[in-house]
Symmetry: C2
Subunit: 197 residues, 2 copies
DNA sequence: AGCCAGTCTTGTCACTGTCAAGTTCTGGGA
DNA sequence: TCCCAGAACTTGACAGTGACAAGACTGGCT
């Protein structure tokens, strides 16, 4: 459908894509509805009309992000904590724009069902795997292992996304995560573990 | 020094305190220089004049935050990874405003020496402790243990600060961190640190 | 006394998010 | 076929923002 029509017809997608682009360029705090409007070829109030407000745009982005992440984690059915962690971090690097919004809850409406539902799904993937991974050995409470798993993985993702970890490629970060996860959960250190000396 | 003088005399501190207050109320992205000016009892361009720009205010806050954190960690000389983690997370909860700015590098000039120097100090506290804690047992590379330690601790701090972890008191979070750290680093799970080495 | 570098103020600019009111389009009932 | 209710966008306006230039005040030095 041509861009010069009065009814854009695909404003929602156009705005969200523009938002991802804009956030990738200069972060979520620099996002401007008027800029989105320009990128989508629409009048300055178009985006706000469709999403209600700026917060509405962020909420839609967060919902989309959590949904993608949940699906991503659910395909990693190996049950290995290390592989789940790798997937989590990989997602953070691959969809940086979404990821940055998702974990900045003051930007959007975190209670909105479209966000809360997939967020619960990602959480149960992680905590479920952590529970299984430590059934064998430990006397630590399950709360500790589950939250510990999430914290480890989330910390890696945050540090990698903020540039605090200097790694040339996502694969390098993945190797780090794999190593740390198997260290914490005493999983067999698997094929991908770092080369031994 | 009276507040109605032309030369305020303590504008820097007044603005930074106002910033901490404002951020505690509604997050860093809602911070407005003009609001800081009002809180500090100063004309609308006062803060920007002193700090150069809004980024300058954030840079000063980040510098102050990393300095406090570095000193905090350096007093935890027990060498126990668990206790370092507790201190890290406790700092994040106690100085939430500073903490939120510190790990949002797009807000400030992360290369500024006033930020970079204390940031290096906190990092070496953490990685040093991680290195010691795993001297005994592991065959994992030191990069993995050091970054793993940081990620675990940072992840807890982020999740706690963003409200993702429901804990009634900082002490509860501290207990979680202690548990997860000793799980990962195989430290004795007791309250105190390993005295031998 | 005279000056001057710093400290803060005033005035203005382009830009932002939101809202109310207007315009244009779409689909479906008669 | 006509028409019209309402959805999809636009237009216009408002208060608020960060940045900058230019001015006003201050206190210390000679």
């Amino acid at each position: 459908m041509p861009a010069d029509r009065y009814h854009h017809g695909a404003l929602r997608r156009a705005v969200l894509d523009a938002a991802v682009e804009a956030i990738s360029e200069s972060g979520p705090s620099a996002l401007s509805l008027r800029d989105l409007a320009r990128r989508a070829g629409v009048s300055h109030a178009g985006p706000a009309h469709h999403f209600g407000s700026k917060e509405g745009v962020f909420t839609a982005l967060a919902a989309e992000g959590f949904t993608m992440l949940a699906e991503e984690l659910e395909t990693v059915s190996s049950g290995s904590m290390a592989e789940l962690g790798v997937a989590y971090v990989r997602f953070g690097l691959q969809h940086r724009a979404h990821f940055e919004v998702m974990f900045r809850p003051e930007l959007y409406d975190a209670e909105d069902p479209s966000v809360a539902e997939p967020r619960e799904r990602t959480w149960s993937s992680l905590s479920g795997s952590a529970r299984v991974a430590t059934t064998y050995a430990d006397q630590v409470s399950s709360e500790v292992t589950e939250l510990g798993a999430w914290a480890l993985v989330h910390g890696f993702a945050m540090l990698a996304a903020s540039g605090a970890i200097e790694a040339d490629s996502p694969d390098e970060v993945a190797a780090l995560v794999r190593g740390a996860a198997s260290m914490m959960f005493r999983e067999p250190n698997g094929a991908a573990s770092p080369r031994e000396h």
